[in-house]
Symmetry: C2
Subunit: 326 residues, 2 copies
């Protein structure tokens, strides 16, 4: 490891709206960061050029590109094996986009790429609450539900690079579950994401006459944050929504434990800001549903990484082991 000669890595958290770049040292400190608008570039080559241009000042600040070991990218539908974004629904670039190679060609350093939840898992393992753990499952609770699975200290990519889609296990098997963007029905993500919480709120408000602080907000504008604020004020319906969400997530995690018997589950993302509103029913439901022989084994933890930094840190951690791009 030439981390003395090359003590930095670049991390890129590529989201549907924003792309945040950071230069990170071996201790996980972000030495500088910059951002561009992902949606502003319909041609991915223009995007890469804009990213490199934005990075240049902070690359110069740390002593030039020769001080940088590699780059890691976390992106929707990122395939670690191919280094490409493959058919991402929420990006302008269609088909297969070899983003790792494009950045590597421009910067002259090795670049690795994976999906955002996997990047978060690597960040958690390198700098967060999963430090030292060899078996854990990262669950990201944002607009959707993502996951990154670590087994024997290695991220699980599966036979095709797309393992770890736990947001799409089926929680409602009746065939009448909520429709999901993936084309299926009843997926975990349709209930336990930020949008799932808002959907639950709308369902309850529409189908009952019960009073709620949430009735002050236009139905279509209700967010998971509104629900947690109302719950904190004691609103019964809002509390019930988080109870429902946490319990379903606990039931799902109980099944995941039967798969890999992890040391911990690490929850990350907007929904975790609800704290005990979510985590208490989650823990209770997990204990009820997990195979008795696993009861009490796995810890249910909330990520300690700052939301804005975690994604960049996670992506950057991938840069330390990036291999030359073909």
């Amino acid at each position: 490891m030439d981390s003395i000669a090359k003590p930095y890595v670049i991390g890129l958290d590529l989201g549907g709206t924003n792309s945040v770049f950071g230069i990170v040292d071996t201790r996980g400190e972000i030495k500088g960061s910059t951002a561009i608008k992902t949606q502003a570039y319909s041609d991915v080559n223009d995007y890469v050029q804009a990213g490199v241009d934005a990075l240049q000042p902070i690359i110069d600040m740390v002593g030039g590109i020769e001080k940088i070991k590699g780059m890691g990218i976390g992106a929707p539908n990122g395939n670690y094996y191919s280094g490409a974004i493959e058919n991402a629904a929420n990006l302008l670039w269609k088909g297969i986009v070899p983003l790792a190679k494009l950045f590597s060609d421009k910067l002259g350093i090795p670049v690795a790429l994976t999906n955002d939840a996997n990047a978060a898992a690597i960040g958690e393992m390198t700098y967060g609450v999963a430090r030292g753990m060899k078996d854990f499952i990262m669950i990201t609770l944002g607009t959707g539900v993502g996951s990154g699975i670590v087994i024997n200290g290695q991220l699980v990519y599966g036979s095709d690079g797309f393992a770890g889609e736990l947001g799409h296990v089926t929680m409602d098997r009746s065939g009448n579950g909520r429709t999901c963007g993936c084309g299926k029905r009843g997926c975990l993500e349709t209930y336990c994401s930020a949008t799932g919480v808002a959907r639950t709120a709308r369902e309850i408000l529409e189908t009952t006459d019960r009073p709620s602080l949430l009735r002050d907000i236009p139905l279509k504008d209700i967010t998971s944050l509104d629900v947690s604020l109302a719950a904190e004020k004691g609103d019964a319906i809002a509390k019930e929504i988080y109870e429902f969400t946490g319990r379903m997530l606990g039931e799902a995690c109980a099944d995941f434990a039967a798969f890999s018997s992890p040391e911990a589950f690490v929850f990350f993302g907007g929904l975790t800001k609800a704290g005990d509103l979510l985590m208490k029913p989650l823990q209770e439901s997990y204990n009820e549903h997990v195979l008795p022989m696993f009861r009490g084994h796995a810890k249910l933890l909330v990520s300690g990484l700052k939301g804005s930094e975690a994604a960049v840190l996670g992506a950057s951690a991938l840069g330390w082991d990036a291999k030359p791009n073909k």
Copy 2:
């Protein structure tokens, strides 16, 4: 690898009723085998002595213990990390039984131990249809439903040695699912095992008046084999039972694909003798329920290993890499 000087391994398939030992060469050929009754020994030390006594003639036949590299054991509730059988419900020996060490002390060779489904997965990877695969999931359909998960060419043992209990994911989340021996309700194993098939038969026969060849058999004596024989004769209820079983198994496997995106699922055990009766609805249901991005990726295969030999071969394969026992 000293497989030239030590060209054999011992495999032990330890079941609730019988214990089958075999001596196996590097090509997976069983050079000799022997068996003892598991239930005949209430003291595990007597069991080990009886096993070693039974093995002695075939050990002598291959040239003595110095020709044997190691031993592998597949046993219910076997923990690979500790080399012990831990709290097996269907064995006479209670608590934690350090079986690997007991055999190692008697034989003077390293002994590794894991559960029966994991042993089957190793057998399949070493000698069966999963040769060359790095990511696959073995599902054993016997009295219960067991599983062995291989990721990156390694068996998944999890944080405590007990990963891969896919027979206990919850298929009926209503809270009114079938009771399972594990203490939960609605587990996959209560529907998709040999006993699950018989349970489904009894449920349908008891709650309807529909005619069926199965009505010639006393209700409590119906087995999964009776059901498949009746189905082959065109019995509508029997066909329906396998349709139900296969479809539920397909739905479960679709969720497992979201976890590790395997190259294949390999099905093994008594229930697979039903052939297309099981595999056709399984494949159809899998295609319907799997995340669209995974559709068509994983192969659904039936083990090609002979039932009687597979368990011993699988256990023996573990013997090649057995480490000295502490």
